[in-house]
C-alpha cells in the first residue's frame, strides 16, 4: 500500500511465512505500510495476530523479512520494541496495580527515564479519559476502562507506531465508540502511526486510511479508504413505486439532480446533491411531494464492504 507515496515505509513485510506444526498461519505475506493508519482485516484465524507478533519480534518468521520503522524486527527485537507500542487483544493488565503505576512502569520498560515516565503517564491517562481513575486498582475497572488503560500503556513512550490487536473486543457499543474515536485520534491528532487488526470492517473503515485483508494466512486484498468529501457525498440509488418523472421533478425542486438508470419499475434513479443527510432528506420529501413509494434506497457507488466482501470470505 503506498497511497500517500513518498517517505520511508513504516512497515515492510516481504514473503513472511509462519507455521504452527501443520497449521499455516502466514503464507508468503508481503505488504508495505506507508499510511498513518492501516487496518488488518480478516476473520478469526486469518493470521492477523500472528503477523502483528512477527512485526513486534515476538515470533520469528519461518521465512521472509519484516522491517518496522526501518529496523529488522527479528534482530535485535528489543531495539525495535522500545520504539513501538503494542496493545494486546486479550486482557493482560496486572490487576493489582493502579493505572498510573502500570503506565509509568511500562514507560520505564520502554526506555523512558523515570521522571519523564511519570509526567507522560499523566498525559496519556488524560488523553484516554482516565485522569480521575488513575489511582484506582485496575481490577476495579470496567472492560472499557481496562482497554483504555491498555491503550495508554501502549502510547506512553511516544512510539512511532502503535500496534493494536482487536482494540474494540469485548466492548459495549458506547465503549466501542469511545475506543474508535481514540484510535482515530492517535493518527490524526497525536501523530502516532497505527496498525490495527479487526474482524469488523466498520471499525477499520472508520479509523484507518487503508486496509490489508488477510484470508487463510495470505493477503487477499489491499484497499485505500477514502475519507475525502467526495467519499462521504451522499449519492443514492433509488427505486420507487410510482411515477419516476414526478419524483424527479419533486427532487429537483429540493435541489437534487436525478438521473435515470434503467427502464420501468426495475430501473434505478441516481440522486445526487450534497451530503448524505441532505440527499436522504430530499429523497424523503420528494417522495412525499410526488406521492410515490420508496422500494429501495442504497449508496450510489460500491461500498468498501462490497469491494472487499469477496476477499474477506
Amino acid at each position: 500500500m503506498s497511497r500517500n507515496g513518498g517517505g520511508e515505509p513504516l512497515v515492510e513485510i516481504e514473503g513472511v511465512s509462519k507455521r504452527y506444526g501443520s497449521i499455516v498461519a502466514l503464507d508468503g505475506v508481503s505488504a508495505t505500510v506507508r499510511e498513518r493508519a492501516v487496518g488488518l482485516l480478516g476473520a478469526n484465524g486469518a493470521g492477523k495476530s500472528t503477523l502483528m507478533r512477527v512485526m513486534l519480534g515476538l515470533l520469528p518468521a519461518d521465512t521472509g523479512t519484516v522491517k518496522v520503522l526501518g529496523i529488522d524486527a527479528s534482530k535485535p527485537a528489543w531495539e525495535v520494541r522500545r520504539l513501538l507500542g503494542y496493545m494486546p487483544e486479550h486482557s493482560c493488565l496486572p490487576l493489582g496495580m493502579t493505572a498510573r503505576d502500570l503506565v509509568v512502569h511500562m514507560g520505564e520498560l520502554r526506555g523512558l527515564p523515570r521522571r519523564v515516565a511519570v509526567l507522560r503517564a499523566s498525559e496519556v491517562l488524560f488523553q484516554v479519559g482516565l485522569e480521575e481513575e488513575r489511582s484506582r486498582l485496575i481490577r476495579t475497572f470496567s472492560v472499557g476502562m481496562k482497554q483504555r488503560t491498555n491503550l495508554a500503556q501502549a502510547i506512553v513512550h511516544s512510539p512511532g507506531l502503535v500496534i493494536l490487536d482487536e482494540p474494540t473486543n469485548g466492548l459495549d457499543p458506547a465503549g466501542r465508540e469511545e475506543m474508535l474515536q481514540l484510535v482515530r485520534r492517535l493518527s490524526s491528532e497525536l501523530g502516532i502511526a497505527v496498525v490495527m487488526s479487526s474482524h469488523v470492517l466498520e471499525d477499520v473503515a472508520r479509523t484507518c486510511d487503508s486496509v490489508i485483508v488477510l484470508r487463510e494466512g495470505k493477503v487477499a486484498a489491499t484497499r485505500a479508504i477514502d475519507h475525502s468529501a467526495a467519499a462521504v457525498r451522499g449519492d443514492m440509488r433509488v427505486r420507487i413505486v410510482g411515477d419516476p418523472d414526478g419524483f424527479a421533478r419533486a427532487a429537483r425542486d429540493h435541489g437534487l439532480t436525478v438521473q435515470l438508470d434503467g427502464e420501468g419499475e426495475d430501473g434505478w434513479l441516481v440522486v445526487r446533491g450534497g451530503d448524505a443527510d441532505g440527499v436522504l432528506t430530499g429523497v424523503r420529501d420528494a417522495a412525499v411531494a410526488a406521492g410515490v413509494g420508496l422500494r429501495e434506497l442504497r449508496p450510489a457507488g460500491p461500498t468498501l464492504e462490497e469491494s472487499l466482501i469477496g476477499a474477506i470470505g
Partner: protein
C-alpha cells in the same frame, strides 16, 4: 498562591529525548517487582508479613547489641562477638529466611502468569532472559534484607562496642567478605529455588505449598534415611539447610556433625541453583502467548 504557579496544558506531547537501554528496563522491572512483593502501594495486610519477618531477622542482632548497650561488656562472658557468631546468624534465623522467601518469591511471578501480563512485558524492550534476570534481582534484593543486612548490622555494632573500633576492623576485616559471601549465597539460592518452584503455577497458594513441600519433604526423607541407613550424604537432601551449611563453611572452624565438608554442601547448593535456572529457562524460554 506561589508566584511560580503555572497553568499547564495536559496535552499529549512527543518525546524525543534519550531512551534508556535494556539494563535500565531490567532494573525497572526488578525495582517495581521487589517493592510490590514487600507490599509497597498495597494495603497494610500485604506489608505486615514481610515487614514483620524482616524485623524478626534483625531481632537477634538487635537484642545482643541492645543488651550490650544496656548492661555493658560484662553481660557476655565470652565477649560480644562470641555471644552471636556471624557464622551462626543465618542458622538462628533460618526459619525466618525460609518463610520470607516463601512469602516473597511467589508474589513476584505468579500474578504475572495469572493476569497474563507476560505478553505485555515481552512486547517492551525486555526479552525473556531479561525478564528472568529482573525477577531474580527482584527476589534477591528483599531476601538480602534478612540474609545480609542483619549480620552486617551486627558487625557494625560489634565494631562500635569494641574498645578500639579500628583495631577490631583491622582484626576482623575478612569477616565482612565472609558475611557478604554467605548472605549472597543464601539469598541467591532461595531466590532461584523459590522463583523456579513458583514459575510452575499461576496460583500463589499452590506456589507457596509447592515451595514448602520442596524444601520440607526431602529434608524429612533424607534425615530419616540417613539415620536408618547410616548414609551421611543422604543429609544433603535437606534442601532448606543446604545453603546455610555451605555458608557456614565460609567461616573458620567450620564443623558439621555429619562430617560432610563445606565444599560438598556448596557444590550441592550450586547444583540446585543450576537446576532452578534450568527450570526458569524452560518456563520462560518458550512463547507463552
Amino acid at each position: 498562591m506561589s508566584s511560580d504557579a503555572r497553568v499547564t496544558d495536559v496535552a499529549y506531547s512527543r518525546y524525543d529525548g534519550p531512551r534508556a537501554g535494556r539494563f535500565a528496563a531490567i532494573w525497572s522491572l526488578a525495582r517495581w517487582s521487589s517493592l510490590r512483593a514487600l507490599g509497597a502501594r498495597r494495603g497494610w495486610k500485604a506489608k505486615l508479613i514481610p515487614i514483620t519477618l524482616i524485623l524478626l531477622g534483625f531481632a537477634p542482632g538487635i537484642v545482643v547489641l541492645g543488651l550490650r548497650a544496656l548492661f555493658g561488656p560484662s553481660v557476655f562472658k565470652g565477649g560480644l562477638a562470641d555471644a552471636l557468631p556471624y557464622s551462626d546468624y543465618a542458622g538462628i534465623i533460618s526459619i525466618v529466611i525460609l518463610i520470607f522467601s516463601v512469602v516473597v518469591t511467589p508474589e513476584l511471578v505468579c500474578p504475572d502468569r495469572r493476569d497474563r501480563t507476560l505478553s505485555l512485558y515481552f512486547s517492551t524492550a525486555i526479552s525473556r532472559g531479561d525478564y528472568v534476570a529482573g525477577k531474580v534481582l527482584a527476589a534477591l534484593m528483599p531476601i538480602l534484607l534478612v540474609t545480609l543486612a542483619p549480620p552486617l548490622i551486627l558487625y557494625a555494632g560489634n565494631m562500635l562496642f569494641a574498645v578500639h573500633p579500628l583495631a577490631y576492623l583491622e582484626r576482623h576485616w575478612l569477616d565482612i567478605f565472609r558475611i557478604i559471601g554467605a548472605g549472597l549465597l543464601i539469598g541467591i539460592y532461595y531466590a532461584l529455588v523459590g522463583l523456579a518452584v513458583s514459575s510452575l503455577t499461576a496460583r500463589r497458594a499452590f506456589a507457596v505449598g509447592g515451595y514448602l513441600a520442596f524444601l520440607a519433604i526431602p529434608t524429612v526423607i533424607g534425615g530419616v534415611l540417613a539415620h536408618a541407613l547410616d548414609e551421611r550424604y543422604l543429609r544433603l537432601l535437606a534442601f532448606a539447610a543446604v545453603p546455610l551449611q555451605a555458608a557456614r563453611g565460609l567461616y573458620p572452624g567450620y564443623s558439621d556433625e555429619g562430617h560432610i565438608s563445606a565444599g560438598v554442601w556448596a557444590a550441592t547448593s550450586v547444583e540446585l541453583m543450576v537446576v532452578a535456572l534450568a527450570v526458569l529457562a524452560i518456563r520462560y524460554g518458550r512463547d507463552t502467548g
